[in-house]
Symmetry: C2
Subunit: 420 residues, 2 copies
């Protein structure tokens, strides 16, 4: 059987299963989630044994220590995965929530109601915890999933999917509601992305290569996270201590994540704040790549390197920062909309009019006034859990939690109305 | 310059313009809309003259009389297009509306605010009124548009776009906010669908061939209307007069539209209602394609033809109806989810439990209880105007009005919070 045929059959099985998942009530879904969490803990040894095979292969293939760390499961990490499943139990079930209610022509009563999307394909790289996270978030929101993990984690993922299905199905999880693609052939990705008869949404989680492989071939709608080229703009009216504190936090608190700042923009009118900010960043180990005006303003306060055009486009994910002096809020907005990635961008300012312009003008998922960009996160927003952060604008933007894994339908109640 | 380069440049110009459109306030947008409406009326002669060229070509190319009718503009139709623009003035501006407001970690104040999508590509077939409708709906929702009409209407569309831009720009419409692709080369469609650096959404409006051409190549998210294979299910508890009235209305009131019924499902327990319904449909000129059990139930009440498997999949858009007897609400739901198109499906029933099952179980944009499927329409829902009806599940489902032409962003207000 060809890869395409196998994937098509999985997709069709997923679609049939999705009807049964959609029909589960909240208590039934929570019972399944509890059973999956218990099953994961009970099967820790089995999961770690499978993980060891992936780790041995990773060593053999010379994977970086960072990648090996991401791949590694131990008692504590399996327990954390199980606990994360139990967290999902506590979250509100989005399915059935009434979003809006109104009366249409001839008195028909219309209710806009949240409903499951159907079948969601999750394509991800090496972290095996995503296998469980993604599956249970989709389950709680009433969807079936087809999971495609990285080849480096195939043994771990297979073991996790087996435990999810064995413990879940014993507690009422419909068969094929959570499917893992059991082979690592590359052709599985385009096959899944073209199964638009059965698959309703693809969420790719990974680097640019993976995202490109998905969007270049997908007939199924895709919600993606591309880059996090985040900016902080220090306006002339910014409180200097606040500006320094936010810039420092946004860059160094965790430089390897998508909501970390990559470019600092400083208004010409607050260029005198730059030496202090630059010195603090330098002291925290940050390399500064600056435009000529920023270099002048920083002077001897910290060493700098001349920025190239590429720097403004770059997501460093490291202790490196581009710094530029701009002429006012409009120039800051233009820079961000041109070079940014639509993720998270902030202004530090004490001027309400300028803040309003910035928040409306910057075309990003999350725009900040006097707070660090590092807050773009489902947990920080109080969503309890997130499946990712969308840098797209359609359907879901910013942190994606359970409601973003649903669609809606209109339920119309009549008393025999016909159209005249 | 190649087609691809021309389209890329239009897309980039559209993106730049979209920032300026997004910054217009409601009064400014309404003033532009009034100017466009006035301009269209003032230029009626010029528009009709351009339309005459399209009509002459259409006659020469032997287009059907239905297609020629759709293409034709006269004084009354131009007036109707201008009046439709004035209707948009009256609608609420969705931009800036606060969808949700909550407090996140460390007291950050988060507001989820509607904002424009950016650049919307509209690809449509021969009706020239779509040129104006689509452009002004996108404008009111703060978006720039790139319009690609059918080759049959190129002269009409060019004249309309010229009037929109001349009258609009004089009243403050940003340059390139509304662009019509000025040539009919087929390569323009894939070029537009691949310009994902600048174009945020593609809405194709037309037949299956057009939709397929778009989804097979698009890197840009697409919201589409595929088929309208709508069902009415008559349950055992249905009121017979209501069932007959709804079936008749859903089929014959306007058979050529997407929300007309194509398949009637009747519960075995109400098969005795079939002769009356069938006779009424036959009297209205409807050809009945039936399964064996429906044939038996109808008997001599009306002539019937045996349905083939294809019939259950067919959107007739004509006075033809498939009829099938099913075993209860679960069988009805299964049939609809298998053969339907996710558009509009209804149940006629007096049993609340059964209604609940049907409304939750049928995976369609709009599900009806005791009302005709013909109500799926932006106007009937009270939306004032619609850009189309989505049979997709992502972002927008069912009638798409102004709010569905927006996205959202999170505006976060802090007092210097940083992440710990």
């Amino acid at each position: 059987m060809s890869i395409e045929t196998q994937i098509t059959e999985m997709a069709q099985a997923g679609k049939r299963a999705s009807r049964r998942v959609a029909a589960l009530d909240t208590a039934e879904k929570n019972q399944i989630l509890e059973a999956i969490a218990d099953g994961l803990e009970r099967s820790t040894a089995e999961i770690i044994e499978a993980n060891a095979k992936d780790l041995a292969a990773a060593e053999e293939n010379g994977l970086s220590s960072a990648m090996i760390d991401r791949l590694t499961l131990d008692d504590g990490r399996v327990k954390a995965i199980a606990d994360a499943v139990r967290q999902i139990v506590k979250l509100d079930d989005p399915v059935g929530a009434v979003i809006d209610e109104f009366t249409g022509a001839q008195g028909i009563e219309i209710r806009k109601v949240r409903s499951p999307i159907g079948v969601i394909g999750i394509i991800f790289e090496s972290r095996p915890n995503v296998t469980v996270d993604a599956a249970v978030l989709c389950l709680k929101s009433g969807n079936a999933t087809i999971l495609r993990g990285g080849r480096e984690a195939i043994h771990s993922n297979t073991a996790l999917a087996k435990v999810i299905n064995e413990s879940g199905c014993a507690a009422g999880l419909p068969e094929n509601a959570i499917q893992l693609i059991p082979f690592t052939d590359r052709a599985a990705v385009p096959a899944l992305c073209q199964a638009d008869e059965s698959v309703d949404l693809i969420i790719p989680r990974g680097g640019r290569g993976l995202i490109e492989a998905v969007i270049s071939c997908s007939r199924v709608p895709v919600i993606k996270h591309l880059d996090g080229i985040c900016h902080v703009y220090v306006a002339a009216s910014a409180d200097p201590e606040m500006a320094k504190s936010i810039a420092l936090n946004a860059k160094v608190q965790r430089p390897g994540v998508c909501n970390a700042m990559e470019t600092l923009l400083v208004d010409r009118g607050s260029a005198d704040q730059l030496p202090g900010i630059a010195a603090a960043l330098h002291a925290a180990g940050v390399e500064l790549r600056v435009d000529p005006e920023a270099a002048d303003a920083i002077g001897d306060a910290a060493p700098t390197v001349a920025a190239t055009e590429d720097d403004w486009h770059t997501e460093y994910l490291d202790l490196v920062l581009s710094v530029k002096v701009v002429d006012g809020v409009d120039a800051a907005i233009d820079h961000i909309n041109h070079y940014g990635s639509g993720h998270s961008d902030g202004i530090v300012s004490g001027d309400a009019g300028e803040v309003k312009l910035f928040l409306a003008g910057v075309d990003s998922s999350t725009v900040y006034h006097n707070a660090s960009t590092r807050f773009t996160d489902g947990e920080m927003f109080g969503f309890g859990a997130e499946i990712g952060i969308s840098t797209d604008k359609l359907h879901a933007r910013g942190p994606m939690a359970l409601p973003e894994l649903t669609t809606y339908k209109y339920e119309v109640h009549g008393t025999g109305q016909v159209r005249g």
